[in-house]
Symmetry: C2
Subunit: 384 residues, 2 copies
């Protein structure tokens, strides 16, 4: 298989984008990525999207986006793995370039979540869980993650203050990201006093409902050199599944699909987690960031919370996590999230992160993108 | 890239399967394919599904199916391209084996369309068109294909009798397929006298709403030899997109994505259309089969209708088309269709088609699977 590099990145602002349609969001991000890559032609494209059907009444999303991007008859395929759809799109694009089948492949992700009311959005998001055994009986995602948080607290002593520290840190980062949905500083007290959504998760422990899109252009490392573009290599890719319903898991307080996907990606890259400088991870709820860091092996079980409280995952800390602001502050248009993580990592590895958000040490990074309560995970390793 | 072969096939019966759930349909087909292949382990899987969200309130379909198939933490990805979702799943699985990343990959497709009422199903199918410019204004798929049929009649002299001949021929074939939804012989008169749905398309010009699943197991040709399983090689794969909305096309009476996808697949296989013995094609409406045969280059424009009337596409004809019964008689659970085409082709190439449906000459075949009104097409070439 060939070595693959990212040579172009683009994304829309994340937020409640009433003025921009589903298709226009994707085209804006894809055009920006193609411009950044300096390519006018792509051989193939993948679109990560969780539920075009329920959010905007549109499937056949590959064809739609190829059409509006003006690249027909280019092959275009939509991939879905709930909130990990973007990561899956990247992985398929990586595979197509690595295989030698295509030279220039675009991977994008998009979701337009605010065209329906919040009850409908909660229903749509619930389709990422086990519909027949979880959502149809009333379980919502805040409720499912609240159970995981409670289990983690009982077993590992994690506290609400530790959860709040994740939100505070990610808002500090998002404040500096011009594309972020919430550019507001929050305090630990504000999180703890905010409305309780599903005990122990307050509203400020939850990522928002968002509109947005992100895209990257992948080529072989050889072609990147020929084109003379700054190339960020994808040195590892790993994907794994887990039992979709919480009641089928052996442990509510750990994330098996993340553990396995990371193991696979790190093995492919030939590195250990200690060799990674920073990470973008799937903080759909504050508890998720802590559980992910433990599943990745950054911290032993029960230690991610105290480390976060101590500032270790801040921009100046030992292992910066979510310098983009994460899903919590940057926003979480579910299909776009996995690709937006790559946009931030490439910016950091190029030394181009805006507003003083640039990390001091940024040579090798990890992206972790997760579907549902961890029913699927995609992990990528990128190197400057 | 490595040579890839199909070594296992499986499918459920197609029809109104009230007693079988979405997940159980997929698992039944996937288990049958794994049993047929003689493998107990897969490295990765793809699930083609058009709209789990709208049909059954379930997304995150890769994770769900990996879970119920009992193969977690295997990587599992759902791919979608409307009614071409199954063909896309096959293509991604082929790519993964061809790249060398994985040795044993399952490609499946599934749709459970009868859990909602017919109005809702019509809405769900409409999401394969351009939602904002076609479906939201009332266009349905019979309506869109009726416009294409009318254009083809005006331009090329195609008649209702020629359309009816497609339905009659496909029902003759489906009569012999134990998995088919409609195992009934129909006459040309019955088609012409059946209820008009969207002029010139009668109800017997339309494929049905169906439940069902199909799956295949792919391995490298080398591994197939080691395992000692009968291997059908995938020698060509092509995919293309087209403008999604009919009003954006330069010609309503031709299918550009099918022309391009076939050109790519044939080029990869190093053969011409004249070298193909038979085909499974996307006859969602009778007019589609004629337009596809012309786009593939089997017949010049305007000649597919007369050839069908003359019996050339029957089982004993010059170029048998849809020996399985096609979407028209076998049924059309949209996400499963592209994979079910492969199941029939493999049966034919192995010489295992049931009930005297076996073709005399079956060494090399083509599968054409199409999304929407041709906004996407996937074509594969298979050889014994």
């Amino acid at each position: 298989m060939r070595d693959v590099a990212v040579i172009g990145i683009g994304m829309t602002r994340f937020g409640e984008l009433w003025e921009t349609s589903f298709r226009d969001l994707f085209v804006e991000a894809a055009r920006a990525a193609m411009l950044d890559a300096g390519v006018e032609r792509i051989d193939s494209m993948y679109v990560g999207c969780m539920s075009g059907g329920l959010f905007v009444g549109q499937e056949h999303i590959g064809s739609l986006m190829a059409d509006y991007l003006g690249v027909t008859p280019t092959a275009a395929t939509r991939v879905e793995s709930a909130c990990a759809s973007g990561g899956c799109a990247l992985r398929q694009a990586w595979m197509e370039v690595a295989s030698g089948l295509s030279d220039v492949v675009l991977a994008g992700g998009v979701e337009k979540m605010t065209d329906i009311d919040l009850n409908q959005a909660t229903y749509a998001l619930g389709t990422a869980a086990d519909a027949e055994y979880e959502s149809f009986h009333g379980a919502t995602f805040p409720g499912l993650y609240a159970m995981m948080a409670r289990a983690h607290m009982e077993r590992w002593g994690t506290t609400s203050e530790m959860l709040a520290a994740v939100a505070v840190k990610n808002h500090e980062n998002g404040l500096l990201n011009p594309m972020a949905q919430y550019r507001t500083r929050i305090t630990r007290e504000a999180v703890l006093q905010s409305t309780m959504i599903a005990d122990p998760l307050h509203v400020l422990d939850c990522s928002p409902v968002s509109d947005g899109a992100a895209a990257v252009v992948l080529v072989s490392v050889e072609l990147a050199r020929k084109l003379g573009r700054p190339a960020v290599r994808i040195t590892g890719s790993g994907q794994a599944s887990d039992r979709i319903a919480l009641h089928s898991r052996s442990d509510l307080a750990s994330l098996e699909s993340t553990r396995v996907a990371a193991e696979r990606a790190l093995a492919m890259a030939g590195v250990r987690i200690a060799d990674i400088d920073f990470a973008e991870v799937h903080d759909c709820f504050t508890i998720a960031e802590l559980m992910v860091l433990e599943a990745l092996g950054v911290y032993p079980h029960g230690q991610a919370g105290p480390a976060t409280l101590a500032g270790e995952t801040g921009r100046a800390g030992r292992f910066p996590v979510n310098p983009s602001g994460g899903l919590k502050s940057k926003g979480h248009p579910v299909g776009a999230t996995g690709v937006a993580q790559i946009v931030e990592i490439v910016k950091q590895l190029r030394g181009e992160a805006e507003n003083g958000r640039q990390l001091a040490r940024a040579r090798r990074a990890l992206a972790q993108n997760m579907g549902g309560t961890g029913g699927s995970t995609v992990v990528h390793i990128l190197e400057a």
